[in-house]
Amino acid sequence: MSCAGDISMREPDATPQAGRRTRAPFIRIEAVHKAFAARQGGELMVLDSIDLDIAENEFVSLIGRSGCGKTTLLNIIAGLDAATSGRIAIGERPVTGPGQGQGVVFQQHALFPWLTALGNVSFGFRKAGLPLEERRERSLELLRLVGLEAAANKYPREMSGGMQQRVSIARALALDPQILLMDEPFGALDELTRIELQQELLRIWQARRKTVVFVTHSIDEALMLSDRIVLLAPNPGRIQRIFEVPMPRPRSRTEPAFNALYDEIWSELSS
């Protein structure tokens, strides 16, 4: 039952395999398994035969109950974790580790506390070997993009959670990544800041055209942001169903299509 169920939602010319799309795949996840050694011996299966293709510039959310392996899957795409078996490729290149075109935004507390906002963003530029002045210029430009130019010289502890996440996004963009991986980036924020940052993210995504994989536990958030929503089921983590989100952006939480899809995802999630 692991990969059935999204037939009704897919374009008519799509192949019958779940997670396969007609557009050329950009991120290709094939037969990925992940198992950890369990404490009482044996193995704990965290991800079970994950197959998923993500197109270039697509915004895909991973959603599911805790224990469904959504963060593990994200970490595997990020190259921070290795799959036990299976293949992952970005473009045509297999993922063998981090820093291969994946920018990552973590949930919180991932900024370097000893660097200012500007220092954190320009940290990402170091590897490119740019001269100091140009790094500074480009970092300021990214801070401007996330609306934080005025806070360039603030340290993380002097910033609110929302500001910190804006800096995190700017820092990830400094790598000029092909894909942006976000692990519940707004999960620790208050409701108002969260909605604000969702809108910001959409604006940035549209301005910079990135492929985004976004982990969240909020159906609402996934519906506001994504082209597709991948629902993962727990124990072991597997794809339960994939939803297309056809509504044009900007979306409204009050439109009927939004609520109908919300109900559908909810009933699938609680089944």
Binding site: A78, P98, V104, H109, R126, K127, L175
Partner: protein, 257 residues
């Protein structure tokens, strides 16, 4: 505003206490309650010291003590940071080294003095060794603990920016452990200072510790001894405060105080 007002108020209270004790001390000697030959009053002690010591002698002893503690501390701290950081970063090295450090750490540095004299003689190297030990153990422990408790999230963030190995260590792990390193350095400095005087009491011909014990051996003035003791305390207090300020300036900006 109210915070600073409160702080200066606290300082005033502390000063009042100190002044009261000095006053009590002075009056108990003057009224004959305490024998000035055993425990002279502050004014008598200062008078005796200024009579028996030239400013040049005092300055020479002081700078010798400072030079000793600086050099011993610098090398002990450097070795402590190096071993602690590497043990915290390279798991295997840590497993080999940390039991050894844990076994040697409880030995008070002063207990090494007889061995130090046998190994290095009565000259400078034996004092250097004792002071080195005083700095090394607090620093190595703090560095190791600091490295072990670096938030893995920061390391992962560094990895996503293409860092690994030594660059990840230098640019992420060590800055992240800096607050612990700073605390270790401060404790190490205090301990270096503590063992300095003991080392000088045993065998030296210069330094504040020597100045005190020589005065006693020569049957000189108790006042000089008292002034020497208070001077050592003041020196430790001042240098510790200076280190405290330096640390706040270094890590306090981003780490909070």
């Amino acid at each position: 505003m109210s915070g600073t007002a409160l702080r200066s108020n606290d300082l005033a209270l502390g000063l009042i206490g100190t002044l009261a004790v000095i006053l009590l001390w002075e009056t108990s000697v003057r009224t004959g309650l305490i024998d000035p030959a055993v425990f002279p009053s502050p004014s008598l002690a200062i008078a005796a010291a200024s009579e028996r010591l030239t400013a040049r002698q005092l300055g020479e002893n002081l700078s010798w003590s400072l030079a000793r503690v600086f050099s011993g501390f610098a090398l002990g701290a450097l070795a402590g940071v190096l071993v602690g950081v590497l043990a915290g970063w390279y798991r295997r090295f840590g497993l080999v080294v940390s039991p050894l450090v844990e076994l040697l750490r409880p030995i008070p540095p002063l207990a090494w003095i007889p061995l130090a004299i046998i190994w290095f003689g009565l000259g400078e190297p034996s004092k250097f060794f004792i002071i080195f030990l005083g700095a090394f153990f607090p620093v190595v422990t703090a560095a190791y603990q600091g490295m072990r408790s670096v938030d893995p999230m920061l390391l992962r963030a560094g990895q996503t920016m293409g860092l690994s190995g030594v660059p990840l260590l230098l640019r992420v792990a060590i800055p992240a452990a800096a607050p612990d390193l700073a605390t270790g350095l401060r404790i190490g400095w205090g301990l270096s200072f503590g063992v300095l005087v003991a080392a000088e009491l045993i065998a030296a011909d210069r330094g504040l510790g020597y100045m005190i014990i020589a005065e006693r051996n020569a049957g000189g003035s108790v006042g000089v001894i008292i002034v020497g003791i208070l001077l050592i305390g003041a020196l430790n207090l001042l240098t510790d405060a200076a280190i405290g300020v330096a640390i706040r300036h270094w890590v306090g900006r981003w780490h909070g105080s």
